[in-house]
């Protein structure tokens, strides 16, 4: 049963609060908040901004899903960042080297990416399960190490190609690309949106309709209780971490297979960290994550459009920060308000002379 008030009120409150706070920041810096918000809204109807916002949101969605899988099992996979970059560079190299017929080529690249992502998550997972090393520490370290790995692999002495002053992997042949969905003037939507949607559905199905999902959530809630029910927390931690890594491996794929076809030295970084925030915003729910990803992508795009009216783009960053912060606070407030309302209701029912029924929260 979804309680709509508990689900929707907090994010709405958080967004309103973030808007208020950034209005203050805008006023202090001498800008007109209304003009700023109008520009942010108007950008969507301008050129291909709307489509490129959705494209960016697809990437954020994948990163958010990857983080959320870990969160479900109470594993804080900060390593999404390292996992996706490692997977991207490996998949780009293997993808450019492989010669396969069209559809197979894409599937092979995606499998390589998922496998590489999971591989990069394997070490922290093993250390956590068998030695109790915090995955937070190990994944942060691996995030840092990935810089060196990428730099090494795209060096011309290994697999890199130099064009101009930039270094990248070799180009993936047309058979390995995912065609976009052309929307005319508005731009081209990444074809990957279909795969991302399917993944979101798969995630929802796994969590709510399978035994594995139930066990995952159960041992996330309480390891001891789950163990008493015959669920091995070790196995679940390992599975959650590897699944999270595999999905993280796909994060760079929409851009790699749908736009760039190479992984370059200048490729965008930081998607993994955004994924953490997006998963938090979406409360690990597939629809919530989609909403969070869209919101985040919209704010990122706003940063550039704000430049056009002379407002520092950092305002968008301030909004992103305050939204995450206030979402956490808002959920807690709404939860407590719900709890209090529940208690009052039960109390009222009690005063009427009859004991509250089980459905009303009374004792059996």
């Amino acid at each position: 049963m979804i309680n709509w008030r508990t689900a929707l009120l907090p994010p709405a409150l958080a967004i309103i609060f973030a808007m208020l706070l950034s209005s203050v920041a805008l006023l202090i810096s001498g800008a007109n908040p209304l003009e700023a918000f109008a520009t942010m809204g108007a950008q969507l109807f301008h050129g291909n901004t709307a489509v490129s916002t959705v494209n960016l949101a697809i990437v954020y969605y994948l990163a958010g899903l990857a983080a959320a899988i870990g969160f479900q099992m109470n594993v804080f996979n900060i390593g999404v960042e390292g996992q996706y970059r490692f997977a991207a560079v490996v998949a780009a190299i293997v993808g450019a080297w492989m010669e396969l017929p069209p559809v197979l080529h894409v599937i092979a690249i995606l499998l390589v990416a998922m496998f590489s992502g999971a591989l990069y998550a394997l070490l922290p997972a093993l250390l956590k399960v068998y030695r109790g090393v915090s995955e937070v520490i190990t994944t942060i370290m691996l995030n840092s190490i990935v810089f060196g790995i990428v730099a090494f692999l795209i060096n011309p002495e290994q697999f890199g190609v130099l064009h101009g002053n930039n270094l990248s992997t070799a180009e993936i042949a047309p058979s390995g690309r995912i065609p976009g969905i052309p929307l005319g003037e508005a731009g081209t939507l990444f074809g990957f949106i279909v795969i991302a949607g399917a993944l979101g559905y798969g995630y929802w199905f796994m969590l709510t309709r399978t035994r594995f999902g139930f066990e995952l959530k159960a041992s996330g809630e309480s390891k001891t209780a789950a163990a008493a029910g015959g669920v091995s927390a070790k196995k679940m931690t390992l599975a959650a971490m590897l699944l999270s890594g595999a999905v993280a491996g796909l994060v760079a794929m929409p851009e790699l297979l749908g736009r760039d076809y190479v992984y370059a030295m200048t490729a965008t970084q930081g998607y993994g960290f955004t994924g953490l925030a997006v998963a938090l915003l979406g409360r690990n729910h597939p629809a919530g994550i989609a909403f969070g990803a869209l919101l985040w992508a919209f704010l990122d795009r706003s940063a550039v459009s704000l430049e056009s009216i002379g407002i520092p783009s950092e305002i968008a960053t301030i909004m992103q920060g305050t939204i995450v912060l206030s979402v956490v606070v808002a959920y807690e407030i709404v939860r407590r308000a719900d709890l209090a309302a529940e208690q009052r209701r039960v109390g009222r029912a009690g005063r009427n002379g009859q004991p509250a029924g089980v459905a009303e929260g009374g004792a059996v």
């Binding site: 937070v136 810089f147 730099a151 002053n165 851009e255 736009r259 990122d300 550039v304 056009s308 783009s313």
Partner: protein, 385 residues
């Protein structure tokens, strides 16, 4: 569950604090055992090869004069790389070129915006499109990171001129590349280092190990070798690997690396590390070594006034001149007349003479410069080994 996540967050915070503490400890001062007390001799004693003859007459800089260019109907858009105005490096140089053009040619200053460090490719495209739609013309994109975005956006706005600093891989009618012969300027820096070292060992500190920065290293190595042969050793260090741009903005790390290079015997350090260069200069100042600046004349930079005495010279990469000339060329309607590459022969690169300490070797430097311009010396743009 909530409590555990709090624990995780606390752990992150702790990790951050520890990392910072580590850095702070690293930058603490020590190690005066460096240059000076070694066995070395006088500056210049390490040079084994004679310099080519300097050109007759004085070494006057010929600068192109743009008499009465009128650019008043041009609005100049400037899309910065990460850092933007105030990076004391090439973004600032580009901005300086635009500022001068605004003043001299009456051009209108249009949009100006820096890139965010983690922004995606699409954001760069959006920025360029936005500038084009606001009527900016020409639009100057600073840094090769813009190459792909310019390549995509320029064909959509055929009536707008684009300039792309540091990249010539885009082949469009309305895109003008502004690229430099970094290795030629760095060659002269290498010659200067060879004449200034007394320990017969010099060092190169690169910001990020990218092909572009390796050109500086390559030129420097060849310059040192041209003057000192095998007698002078060149040590090269990079702050971060390709892809991690933090190396251009990490003076503390540069400081530590420089100190260790000095304590291993290098007494002249050439940096190509953007804002990290400050750390190199401070290390040199604290340990009786010398340093060579990069991009602009760092001896004159206000932020470096405390350590300017160690900056014997700077390798100049005149992004400002290129941008200025480009705007003039656009106003006159022919940006194709610009040099294909801003090298020594057109004074697109060079070295600075503002520090009197360089005066005793300018004759030799001019000699090498002439040899390069005449084609007697060819400088390769990839480092050996």
């Amino acid at each position: 569950m909530r409590r555990k996540r709090g624990g995780a967050l606390a752990a992150i915070a702790m990790a951050g604090v520890l990392a910072m503490a580590g850095c702070a400890k690293d930058s603490g001062g020590d190690g005066n055992q460096a240059a000076g007390d070694g066995g070395g001799g006088e500056p210049g004693s390490c040079v084994t090869n004679e310099a080519p003859a300097a050109p007759e007459g004085s070494a006057t800089e010929k600068t192109t004069e743009h008499g009465d260019v009128d650019a008043s109907d041009h609005k100049i858009g400037l899309a910065f790389d990460v850092g933007g105005r105030g990076d004391a490096s090439f973004n600032d140089a580009a901005a300086a070129g635009v500022d001068r053009a605004v003043e001299d040619f009456g051009a209108e200053k249009g949009s100006e915006s820096p890139a965010a460090s983690t922004e995606s490719e699409a954001a760069k495209e959006q920025r360029l499109r936005q500038m084009a739609e606001q009527g900016n013309n020409p639009i100057i994109a600073v840094g090769f990171a813009y190459a792909e975005a310019v390549g995509k956006v320029a064909p959509q706005y055929p009536d707008t001129e684009f300039a792309l600093v540091d990249d010539n891989s885009v082949d469009e009618k309305n895109v003008t590349p502004l690229v430099f012969a970094e290795e030629e300027g760095s060659f002269l820096a290498g010659v200067a280092a060879a004449y200034k070292t007394s320990e017969c060992q010099v060092g190169f500190v690169g910001g990020v190990k990218t092909p572009l920065i390796q050109k500086f290293q390559a030129g420097f190595q060849q310059g040192v070798e041209a003057a000192g042969g095998d007698n002078i050793e060149v040590k090269s260090e990079y702050l971060t690997p390709a892809g991690d741009i933090s190396g251009f903005n990490d003076p503390a790390k540069a400081n530590v690396k420089s100190k260790s290079m000095i304590s291993q015997g290098s007494d002249v350090l050439f940096h190509a590390a953007g804002a990290s260069g400050q750390g190199v200069f401070e290390a040199a100042a604290a340990n009786d070594a010398l340093a060579i600046g990069v991009d602009s004349d760092q001896y004159k930079q206000k932020t470096l006034a405390d350590v300017k005495d160690v900056i014997v010279t700077s390798m100049l990469k005149k992004v400002d001149v290129a941008v200025y000339d480009y705007i003039a060329a656009v106003a006159e309607g022919d940006p194709d007349d610009l040099p294909k590459r801003f090298d020594l022969s057109v004074n697109g690169v060079g070295y600075s003479k503002s520090n009197p300490a360089i005066e005793d070797v300018t004759e030799e430097l001019e000699g090498y410069k002439k040899a390069i311009v005449d084609g007697d010396i060819e400088v390769s743009d990839t480092p050996e080994g």
